[in-house]
């Protein structure tokens, strides 16, 4: 059995608050501990999801959060995997629990993101692919999202109106979420009237940078039962896979893909694109298929990218994302709501907190405690994203 129990979930509201990431993490951690009904001193381990921009140099996430909560001698770890940091922190906590090293582990991620485009840290680093793509090409994150969006238009016939519909859907869900940064409905007309950032994507197609924090208290099933939680939300799978060579789809922050040269007829694994392989590994570990999902939280860094995730997590076939959206299947009230939380469209990016926030949302949904945005009868959820430099991340939660 690979299940661990989600004993508690908590967040700091997202926005632009102008405070330290440590404070967002502390507030989220206190909320998660209160939700779990646990004293901080009763937790034997803390795993901090790292941020380079907010948390380093000068801070290392796990210890920064532990100090803010009060040094109490817990086991500590810090995990950095860019956008996948939170999920990798969950993986580290889960491994400790399954190994019997701790009954209860606190997982925390938080960031204070700068305004505007994400940019690499200073200095000349011509061996750093992230630095090079900015230096040589001016290729911002939205530039990559624009490339993916334009490719979908050419290959599948997606339209700018399809993309706008994703924003309309996620903003409608986010309007119901008191923790989201943006809490008002958006119309397709407002998306179309917003300025182009990276052709064909407009400002309202692309997620903002935000401050925010999220935390979970995870525990062993025995510990949960002993505390009277007979049927807790459980994490059943955590996928942290890398791509397989040759990676033939361009991904952040690379300047080029791998070449197919020299691989002969093609190694078996490479037939599955990276994003799809992330979800596939989680399904395999969970023994659950996409047809069993009640809901999904996916990284909608852009509206067009959300459509890609529908296909990558198996909600529909390649190129069918826009049609699935058009039928209302992924909206609240649909067959399998995607980003019931409001997604990054409503939260914005606080990098190390994001994957943890996704699991908070799954937890509240599977408990039936998501209020106005509740997916009725939710039993199975998946949260997916990918981190820079080949970090995969998917988490399956069940009730």
């Amino acid at each position: 059995m690979t299940d661990v129990a989600v004993l508690g979930a908590g967040m700091h509201p997202w926005g632009k608050w102008g405070r330290s990431f440590v404070e967002y993490g502390r507030v989220a951690a206190r909320a998660a501990l209160a939700d779990a009904g646990l004293e901080w001193r009763g937790v034997q381990s803390v795993v901090g999801a790292g941020t380079v921009r907010g948390g380093y140099p000068g801070h290392v996430a796990g210890a920064a959060f532990a100090r803010a909560l009060g040094w109490q001698g817990a086991r500590v770890a810090s995990v950095y995997a860019a956008c996948a940091s939170g999920a990798h922190a969950v993986a580290a906590a889960r491994a400790q629990i399954l190994a019997g090293q701790a009954d209860a582990v606190l997982v925390v991620g938080a960031d204070a993101a700068p305004k505007g485009f994400f940019a690499p840290a200073g200095g000349d680093r011509d061996d750093d692919p992230d630095w090079l793509r900015f230096r040589l090409l001016g290729a911002t994150n939205p530039a990559y999202f624009g490339l993916y969006a334009r490719r979908r238009m050419a290959v599948y016939g997606d339209t700018a109106e399809d993309f706008a519909r994703v924003k309309v859907k996620n903003a409608a869900a986010g309007a119901l979420n008191p923790l989201a940064r943006y809490r008002k409905a958006v119309t397709a007309g407002e998306v179309a009237a917003s300025p182009v950032v990276a052709d064909p994507l407009r400002l309202l197609d692309v997620c903002a940078t935000s401050d925010g924090g999220a935390a979970l208290v995870l525990g062993s099933m025995e510990f949960a039962r002993a505390r009277g939680a007979a049927d807790p939300v459980r994490i059943r799978a955590v996928s942290t896979v890398t791509p397989r060579y040759p990676r033939t789809v361009l991904d952040l922050p690379d300047i080029a893909t791998d070449s197919g040269c020299g691989t002969g007829p093609g190694p078996a694994g490479a037939a599955v694109p990276f994003r799809a392989s992330i979800a596939r590994a989680a399904y395999e570990e969970a023994g659950i298929g996409p047809e069993e999902l009640s809901l999904a939280e996916v990284y909608d860094l852009s509206t067009a990218l959300e459509l890609e995730w529908y296909e990558d997590i198996g909600l529909c076939g390649p190129g069918e994302g826009a049609a699935l959206l058009g039928k209302g299947a992924t909206a609240l009230g649909g067959r399998v709501p995607v980003n019931a939380s409001g997604g990054l469209a409503s939260f914005g990016e606080a990098v190390p907190a994001q994957a943890i926030a996704q699991v908070c949302e799954l937890t509240w949904q599977l408990r039936g405690a998501a209020g106005a945005r509740q997916v009725p009868g939710a039993r199975v959820g998946i949260a997916v994203n990918q981190g820079l430099f080949g970090h995969g991340s998917a988490i399956v939660a069940v009730r």
Partner: protein, 148 residues
């Protein structure tokens, strides 16, 4: 004074005998890498032991996708904040022989309206930035038979 032309990044392209991107090829498995990988082969199926040899890449390829940058990118992209921002166009190009997709800016004057996925383009030399004594050179893509 004559300004010196220097590559914005060393060893990634050559202007001698016609502009070419430079990659490396593993002598053991024939895998090709760009940007160049000189130290080791990254193919997990490779038997290993092969030297990494410099190899010029295809002159031509087809547009995989394209976009533009309507807002000024942050540093370290070279751009003068005192000057108005001129959007650049970015192409992802699938190289003819290698099958790899390589990013590059379009030559000046080529915008998204001039491009289509699948269109044939060629790699040419370009200028990333200029300062008092140096012209920093780079690579660009230009539609074949299109605007120069």
């Amino acid at each position: 004074m004559e300004r010196t032309r220097k590559p914005a990044v060393p060893g990634w392209f050559t202007e001698e005998g016609g502009f070419r991107l430079l990659g490396t090829r593993c002598a053991a498995c024939a895998a090709v890498f760009f940007p160049r990988e000189d130290a080791y082969c990254r193919n997990p199926h490779c038997a290993g032991g092969g030297a990494m040899e410099e190899v010029p890449l295809s002159r031509r390829g087809r547009v995989w996708s394209y976009t533009d940058g309507r807002y000024r990118p942050p540093a370290p992209y070279p751009s003068d904040p005192g000057e108005p921002w001129e959007p650049y166009t970015l192409l992802a190009v699938e190289l003819e022989a290698e099958g790899m997709v390589v990013l590059g800016q379009a030559v000046p004057g080529v915008g998204p309206a001039d491009l289509e996925v699948g269109m044939e383009v060629e790699v040419v030399g370009g200028v990333l930035a200029e300062d008092a004594d140096t012209v920093w050179t780079t690579w660009c893509f230009r539609p074949v038979g299109g605007p120069a």
